[in-house]
Amino acid sequence: MLIKKREGSASQSRLSETLASVSAGSVDRRTFLKRSGLTAGGAALAGSMAAGTVRRAEAAPAAPDAKAEIKKSICTHCSVGCTVNAEVSNGVWTGQEPAFDSPLNLGSHCAKGAAVREHAHGDRRLKYPMKLVNGKYTRISWDQAITEVGDRLLKIRETSGPDSVYWLGSAKFSNEQAYLMRKFAALWGTNNVDHQARICHSTTVAGVAQTWGYGAMTNSYNDIHNAKAMFFIGSNAAEAHPVSMLHILKAKEQNKAPLIVCDPRFTRTAAHADEYVRLRPGTDVPLIWGILYHIFENGWEDKEYIRKRVWGMEQVRAEVAKWTPEETEKVTGVPGAQVRRVAEMLAKNRPATVVWCMGGTQHTVGNNNVRAYCILQLALGNIGVSGGGTNIFRGHDNVQGATDMGLDVTTLPAYYGLAAPAWKHWCRVWGLDYEWVKARFKTPELMEAPGIPVSRWYDGVNEAKENVAQPDTIKAMVYWGHAPNSQVRQPELKKAMEKLDTLVIIDPYPTVSAVLHDRTDGVYLLPAATQYEVDGTRTASNRSIQWSERVIKPMFECKADHEIMQLFANKFGYGAELTKNIKVENNVPVIEDILREINKGAWTIAYTGQSPERLKLHMQHQQTFDKTTLKAVGGPCDGDYYGLPWPCWGNASAKHPGTPNLYDTSKPVKDGGLNFRALFPEYKGESLLAVDSFPEGSELPAGHPGVTFGMLKKLGFEADFTPEELAVIQKIGGEKVDDVAWTVDMSGGIQRVAVKHGIAPFGNGKARAVVWNFPDPVPIHREPLYTPRRDLVEKYPTYADKKMMRLPFLYKSVQDRDVSKEFPIILTSGRMVEYEGGGDETRSNPWLAELAPEMYAEINTFDANNAGIRNGDMVWIFGPEGGKVRVKARITERVGRGVAFMPFHFGGHFQGKDLRSKYPQGSDPIVLGESTNTAQTYGYDAVTGMQETKVTLCRIEKAQA
């Protein structure tokens, strides 16, 4: 028989159990629909209905509906940025049609994208505000919610200081919402504001930006069509970014580009690889240096490129020399011959693209890993080249945008940082008095001090007050669009949730935050609208910004996130300041105005030319963009790159087309060309400016630092400025007008004039192979905190314990404890195609839930047989810090010997206990399961505080039935 049940018959009994435990509505929609007694147009006020009742019209019109209109939204899952063509009839989302015109997805969707309509029907959504009263979620009004939550938070602000409230934002926000939230936190008076990027690609953003300028994907999914080889490390694109495979497989087929996949698991991506490299988790740097060893040994590096554009390669060479084939194999487990073969493939198939994801980033040495990948590409001369690049696939649909908008403990919007000049710049943009904003903070020092990263917020609660470098520990947590089960050390997190004064969850779904703790009061659930219920822009991984149109009005009593921000700001007394230059209609700030304010201030990454009008025009004329170059050919957007990928220099009237491939000197800057940023023009007297390398057509054919007004004057370009621009520059600069830089000139004149003369505003420097301001200037190998290879700890030890980001960060003291005997199996985690993130949304979607009804662990056959575990058995997985999970065993060769894997999307079970009854009635996800993070452990990147989820240790035992 060709067909068999998807996961074998083992899952059948569980499937029916799951089926039995869910409400009829999700099991048989059609019956439900037929019976639902449809109110006119489905516009009945859900607010007046009982929990579990949903507002809905007939799901699909019988006839192709003449009245149906197509709304163009963007999928709210991964970062590919697939256009969703939503069919809407009488205000009800009735169908999805393929968006063939989108150059990013050409109509394609994965399981999640093809099922997004369900989220907007949302049987299991949060429907109205609720609070926990004596252990039961009880309905309250929005007024009561804002008043009560507001009063509680204001009281904490009064007694413990503003830093004792943690504002955790979301990669699910639009750019406008992310920006507004960052501003909102600033006006509250804290830098304790973060989002998912911290635990997904923070090491990438930091490491890559420090290497050559911007911490983002350099090229695009589409540009992979031009790759001659593809090197994936720690990326399972087939499951995490399925539609990207459209572009990847095209390169594989069309260019015969070898696909090399390095991963501890033989993933669905690996199944399509020409070369699969199985490495031990946590040995990325040795593998890359092992490859580079052969490249240097054979002289395959691009010497001219390195001379012109790279600084510090000699120091790297010295480190690489240690990684002989023998040492590489000893540490990584990859056969020497294979390492050489891969090196040769990369050397002989140029340009190659390098792709990585969380397999590389989520390590204590995450920042080392990403810089090693960058250096590999620099050595091969593959950066700034079409078909090359570091194509870092971001995770969520707007994690790139939310990062750009500074929803982050270390910076204001657009990577300005937290120093006084950055605050002054943004205060000018906001039209607010710097001194007034400063007074919002407890102290001026705290205003400029990075906050506690989200990966550690619970330590900010649990730690002794004297160990936390702020006036008091965290007393209130606002989970605004973030799943708690995607964070390691769940038992600690649970404890913190219980210790808090107030826990606020603002989300379309209750999330695991609603049930993980054993609180009986002080918890509020506020229903937020999804991105399908609001307008806004979101930034795909390739930096293209897409205007996403509202499909339907917010459902039930849900409110748009930006409306909730305005309501809280009003309550806190800074509503007028929050939206001083932004129109507010009915408490809803106007999205276009927020974007215009972003355009007015985000010069560092030139999020300035992307006006609402230009972005809307792109969405309307998607079909005019070439599906490989992303450039519009003819039509009203002629010459623009799709979504005006940043940097889009100057303001909108400068009509810059966006930058499709970063650092590409083959094009003029005005046409999307660029060079490496001159972050540091010199080091210890040595110049770091580019040599003999500059963008095509540059009138300053040399390396140079970031552009200032004075520099342009010296070059004789003063006459190019308009009187209006000069007036603005004069006003900003005062007596030091010559010092006004490209980053703070709000007229856009400096960028416009520089670009006109072919000059990159951010300077023209060399990429830094050595980042002297990081703990390991040249990336080196350090064994994970929990390693089974105790024999390597002495030679490759982790860092010394230290303090940063207001908290102690432990390394050596954790690694010193040898637990490898009791916990002999490496545990790693990753994604499944059906679910995303913490999975609350996707596990509530019956079309997806049915495909993946249970949590599981992949265990190698060898290890399973040794432990007497058979396929389908329930097992306990114990972590070395006391956490344990009860999951189903999936015996497979997908993981190597000594390695186990669990997906990270599950939640709602905790250490064997089913928490379903704790959800607000009718809002429990269809599928619940243990979170892998309950068993996962301590370990944080030494630069960004990224959690180490990709390698720890565990013990696996068969569970008694």
Binding site: P98, F100, G107, L246, K627
Partner: protein, 69 residues
């Protein structure tokens, strides 16, 4: 409009086909025919002639174009 005759034809063919099935399958088919005619064929003479059957519309052409990508 040019598609209309073809559409009508295919619907007719479908009905003819059903009838054919009824004939060839004897009693069971004939019994089925009665059920079928009570609803499926009730309006066959009018609206059901609309739109049936494959044709290469612009949508279909775009789908092929995307598939060939």
């Amino acid at each position: 409009m040019t598609e209309r005759p073809e559409k009508s034809k295919s619907v007719l063919d479908r009905r003819a086909f059903l009838r054919g099935v009824g004939l060839s399958a004897g009693a069971a088919g004939a019994a089925a025919m009665a059920v079928g005619s009570s609803n499926a064929d009730a309006k066959a003479g009018t609206e059901s002639r609309q739109g049936a059957g494959y044709r290469e519309t612009e949508h279909v052409r775009r789908a092929y174009e995307a598939a060939g990508f």
